[in-house]
């Protein structure tokens, strides 16, 4: 075990500091920075090896050896300076790793770099009205017509579908195969007649997701990822990636809570001096530290290619742990922000955790905590997965004709 910032990492930290001083000076922190400047900054950061470190240079990344402590040094420095990190979202976080692992060379060359720069945006076509937690029962189907897959179906709970250029999703291609084996992972352009998007308003008042109706939508076989019928395996990697998103966001939220606790007063004194508040803050921070070092543990295990049932358990609980923390943290933040904020409608055009302390920011995060809890399997589904897959408990009871949960 070695977490110390060795010479190498100290040097890195200093270099990142200098880089930020030069390219993201303090006066940028609290002002609106135009998109093109952010773009330029990101290109520079990639050039310096600070962003997209796991992605080869040839695909637009900065291709550095796996080094979670370096990632951490960079993330911390960027966050403190409020400098933009890599684009967060389903493209960089889910599609790129999948293409790196399962994509063709052509797919990688065409799609990864623009995704990392935000020129191509993505939405996820997994859930269907009749297949929520149970992906194996997907009904949307794709049939081969020459060099094209032709798709008919109905996807739901698709975030950003109205803005996305592409959908990545699962479609039934082998109707006669066993349920898990008949699914293929396809990339589908959104801008075509066969794709109709209807946004769904979230309780935040924002159109956070959509239904997508696919009626004869087409995509070339060139955009099939992995073998026919292997979609289930390809998507399982994706779900693992999705579950990695939360930790860093929660860390940002915690910073916002701390800032709030320093400025808010309770009975005339800063909230951060209130003994009860202090105890809660410490407990929340302990939970976050647990999540953070659990991540280091997973990364180390992954790097070693070693299997370990306790590490698998840690992986299985990660999402439920994160969503539980998110609810606690946003409740605490909302309360700390005071009744004026507690009464305010969710604010901002979208969730921006770094701006939780702006008007309506806590309400937005408070509501959004549900979205992150529900996405990829609501809490009770998570509990079943943990119980059955990680603890080895027997499957749920079922109705005489029914199939079992998870």
């Amino acid at each position: 075990m070695d977490l110390e910032l060795g010479t190498h990492h100290v040097t890195l930290r200093d270099q990142v500091g200098l880089f930020l001083d030069e390219h993201w000076p303090a006066e940028r922190r609290d002002r609106h920075v135009p998109d093109d400047e952010i773009r330029l900054f990101r290109s520079l950061a990639i050039e310096h090896g600070y962003l997209y470190r796991g992605v080869p240079v040839v695909y637009g990344g900065s291709e550095r050896p796996i080094d979670p402590i370096a990632d951490d040094v960079i993330e911390r420095a960027f966050t403190e300076a409020r400098a933009p990190l890599g684009i967060v979202g389903q493209g960089p976080d889910m599609v790129v790793p999948t293409l790196l692992r399962n994509g063709t060379e052509d797919q990688r060359r065409e799609l990864i770099a623009p995704t990392l720069m935000g020129d191509i945006t993505w939405c996820q076509g997994y859930s269907e009205p009749t297949a929520g937690s149970d992906l194996a029962s997907l009904r949307s189907r794709a049939e081969l017509d020459g060099e094209d897959w032709v798709i008919h179906g109905h996807k739901i709970w698709t975030s950003d579908a109205d803005r996305a250029d592409w959908m990545f999703g699962l479609f039934r291609t082998e109707p006669d195969a066993p349920r898990h084996r008949g699914i293929t992972f396809l990339l589908v352009p959104m801008d075509q007649p066969g794709v109709e998007v209807q946004t769904i308003m979230a309780m935040t008042g924002q159109p956070e997701f959509a239904e997508v109706f696919l009626t004869g939508a087409r995509t070339s076989v060139r955009y099939q990822v992995g073998e026919r019928g292997s979609g289930w395996e390809v998507s399982r990697d994706l779900l693992v990636n999705e579950r990695n998103l939360m930790g860093f966001r929660l860390q940002q939220l915690f910073e916002s809570v701390l800032e709030l606790a320093r400025t808010r007063k309770i009975g005339g004194a800063p909230a951060i001096e209130h003994p009860g508040i202090r105890r809660t803050l410490i407990d929340i921070e302990s939970d976050l530290l647990s999540a953070r070092f659990s991540r280091f543990r997973s990364l180390t295990n992954a790097a070693r290619g070693r299997s370990d049932p306790n590490a698998d358990l840690a992986g299985a609980v990660k999402k439920l742990h994160a969503s539980t923390m998110a609810k606690r943290l946003t409740q605490f933040g909302l309360d700390l922000a005071g009744a004026d904020e507690g009464l305010r409608a969710p604010g901002g055009a979208s969730v921006d955790l770094g701006r939780a302390n702006e008007p309506g920011g806590w309400a937005m995060n408070y509501l959004f905590a549900h979205a992150s809890a529900i996405a990829g399997g609501a809490p009770n589904i998570q509990r079943n997965i943990i119980g059955e897959r990680a603890l080895g408990l027997p499957r749920d009871l079922r109705t005489p004709t029914g199939r079992s949960v998870s």
Binding site: S133, I200, M201, L343, A345, L367, I374, A378, N380, N384
Partner: protein, 359 residues
């Protein structure tokens, strides 16, 4: 000793429940979310017809002469139905005039308030989370008031605004009028709108007993919020059961899954006993003055927190649907958020209750 509701009370609740279910069901409430106002004059006159808008006002002024417990029982039903409109502010404003006004003031304002012809509200909070009467800072000079009041319930519909001033004093302003500028606040709960009201050299009439009345009305507000939140949470549990009962996963009713059953059982185990707490708190307001203020604060804090936790769990039990605008869940969820924050929030009420304890 008797700790139960009368037949009249139960019938009154059922009457309002039926009114809301038939005339203003959730589908209609939802239309109001998008509207410029959440005040529906048709609904208001139906409520007035049932004697609800003057419930606690004396019969001599046209009211029903009932107790705060009755008002709380109506708040419960209002919560169940996510009933929109200015009733809460109206009740508190009317109560302030009843308790703080002299004979002439009561005679002047109460009859119209009791009949629903005029709408009252309170302008008590001030920007920066100022809620309690002894924190109010707005000053009145030569019978004229200037200053800003926040979170005024339906300020734009009020004909009579009871304003809180420095020293816990209460003043009545007629609205709309010169020197009363109302701007709407984008609040979490679209069924009960909030406004910011700026007074500028506005003529006021002081309620001579206002200093004594203000804390009592504040306590009444806490109890009405608690009862409303209880009604919301109670309804949400029922809505969740109904929703899950209709849905199957893996060919099994969701309500048959023991994990879900136990979660629902935990919810009602926390919630149902608190019904007796707000009953007691409401009863104490009229009958046990020594306990009333402390138990009002306790009931508010305990019940709104419990209700909020239930609301959060109910969203998750609905799955993605529970997070949509299309589902009704957020009506009650946000209403509880409102009930919880209004007048300062649970922790603040706990601190107040602690300071009133015989410790």
């Amino acid at each position: 000793m008797d700790f139960g509701l009368t037949d009249e009370q139960l019938m009154m609740q059922d009457a309002v429940r039926a009114l809301l279910a038939n005339e203003h069901p959730p589908a209609v409430v939802r239309e109001g979310l998008e509207a410029e106002t959440a005040h529906d004059p048709g609904l208001w006159s139906m409520l007035a017809g049932l004697g609800l808008v003057g419930l606690c006002l004396p019969e001599e002024h046209g009211g029903s002469g009932l107790e705060l417990l009755d008002a709380a029982l109506m708040a419960e039903v209002a919560g169940e139905g996510a009933m929109p409109g200015p009733l809460l502010g109206h009740q508190l404003g009317s109560l302030a005039i009843l308790l703080g006004g002299d004979h002439d003031q009561r005679a002047r304002w109460l009859p119209a308030l009791a009949s629903g012809e005029a709408i009252a509200t309170i302008a008590w909070a001030e920007p920066g989370d100022v809620w309690e009467p002894d924190h109010w800072s707005v000053e009145v000079r030569d019978g004229r008031l200037s200053g800003t009041k926040a979170h005024v319930l339906h300020g734009n519909h009020a004909d009579v605004i009871v304003v809180g001033g420095a020293g816990s004093r209460l003043f009545v302003v007629s609205a709309p009028g010169d020197g009363v500028e109302v701007t709407s606040f984008d609040g979490i709960d679209r069924t009960r709108r909030l406004d910011t009201v700026v007074f500028d050299d506005t003529p006021v009439s002081e309620l001579p007993e206002g200093v004594a009345a203000a804390p009592r009305v504040f306590d009444a507000g806490l109890v009405l919020l608690a009862a409303d939140a209880f009604g919301c949470a109670h309804r949400l549990v029922r809505e969740t059961i109904d929703y899950l009962d209709e849905r199957e996963q893996f060919e099994t009713k969701l309500t048959q899954f023991q994990g879900i059953k136990h979660e629902l059982a935990n919810m009602v185990t926390g919630l149902e006993p608190t019904r007796a707490l707000w009953w007691y708190a409401a009863h104490a307001l009229d009958h046990i003055p020594t306990a009333a203020s402390r138990v009002a604060a306790m009931a508010h804090a305990h019940i709104t927190d419990c209700s909020m936790a239930i609301a959060r769990a109910c969203v998750d039990l609905h799955g993605a649907m529970g997070y949509t605008w299309e589902s009704n869940v957020h009506l009650w969820y946000k209403r509880i958020m409102f009930d919880r924050a209004f007048l300062g929030g649970p922790d603040r009420q706990r601190d107040r209750a602690a300071s009133m304890g015989e410790w």
